[in-house]
Assembly symmetry: C3
Amino acid sequence: MKKTILLFSGDLDKAFAAFIIANGALAMGDEVTMFFTFWGLNALRKPNPPSVAKKIVEKMFGWMMPRGADKLTLSKMHMAGMGTAMMKGVMKQKNVQSLPVLIKLAQENGAQLIACSMSMDVMGLHQEELLEGVEIGGVATFLGEADESNATLFI
Amino acid sequence: MKKTILLFSGDLDKAFAAFIIANGALAMGDEVTMFFTFWGLNALRKPNPPSVAKKIVEKMFGWMMPRGADKLTLSKMHMAGMGTAMMKGVMKQKNVQSLPVLIKLAQENGAQLIACSMSMDVMGLHQEELLEGVEIGGVATFLGEADESNATLFI
Amino acid sequence: MKKTILLFSGDLDKAFAAFIIANGALAMGDEVTMFFTFWGLNALRKPNPPSVAKKIVEKMFGWMMPRGADKLTLSKMHMAGMGTAMMKGVMKQKNVQSLPVLIKLAQENGAQLIACSMSMDVMGLHQEELLEGVEIGGVATFLGEADESNATLFI
């Protein structure tokens, strides 16, 4: 059975939860579609994207938002980086996979990753700045996937 | 197929996502029920409501919370208003409809908008302070709608 | 019909919404499974837990996070405690049940409360620190419950 996950949040902990659920579902034989919108797009940004022509305001969004899964921070207890570093450290110690690894695994195991075209347009993000294999779609794509799913989560 | 959206958040970006999904679903021929609770109620407040008799604490909630869809702010990068203004500016430039317009469209296209009675009671909001056409219901109403839907989102 | 609620958030208002929905569903004859992960686990902590052996970093998490449902705070307008106290006061006045009471009622009425084993491990929480009757499970447990439910909410 298909699961559709819409990742709206750009928080490390929420992105982490989304990909833990996605990988769990894939392991259980489910199909998984993930739709990334607003701040959720940041999880898909390449750490070192090719340079693309942008307007000033698009450049500003690009600078202010975290560049990729490894730069996301906790929604709570970030504490100027200390809390986020502590959480990452504990996870590593407990052999919990990092977010970039979870994203890679989800892709390898067949999750469909779709970036919201309207959010990309508003935030000035171009396809070549996002991870390889990410598709682009709109709200109709998301709703079509939800119609085929037995659970749709907004995270 | 029906979609039920519970809007709990009072953030501009989340309310925006909720109404983009709602209008998308309506365009695809779905029925849509939206249930507004807690901070989500603020999206339904009239900008210039009639005056109603309130207790002190109800007045305080009324003053502290944003009065209507046009007053909501971003969950991230609000930056004392600069980020929210920048986002609104970019959206306008990209011909993305504003939140008040999206709400109007949803209502015109048949979305059922239901305000949570318990939240209204706690926050001291009266029906005449909310947009015309908004109904009032409780958690049983929400659950009944969810039972008829093939996707229910908590936003 | 079963409802599955994943509580990720440790905010008072969101935990409150989760348990209002859970108790509403139980009252309507639904089965309810609630899965607690990340900050959501804090709602299940005993106010006065037995002492357990912990590493330094686990103790730190324990100190920094709210100990139990009665210590959670609002996601908005917490205002150094004033907003949270005001909200609790108004709710009491309006005869709305408190979060600890709602949790107790949900348990008494048959809701299955499951704490996420991976989050417990990361945050260093032990079963004896959580409320009596809480079970432990992983993402596969959550997904199995979602497969049996006609609505699954991520809160």
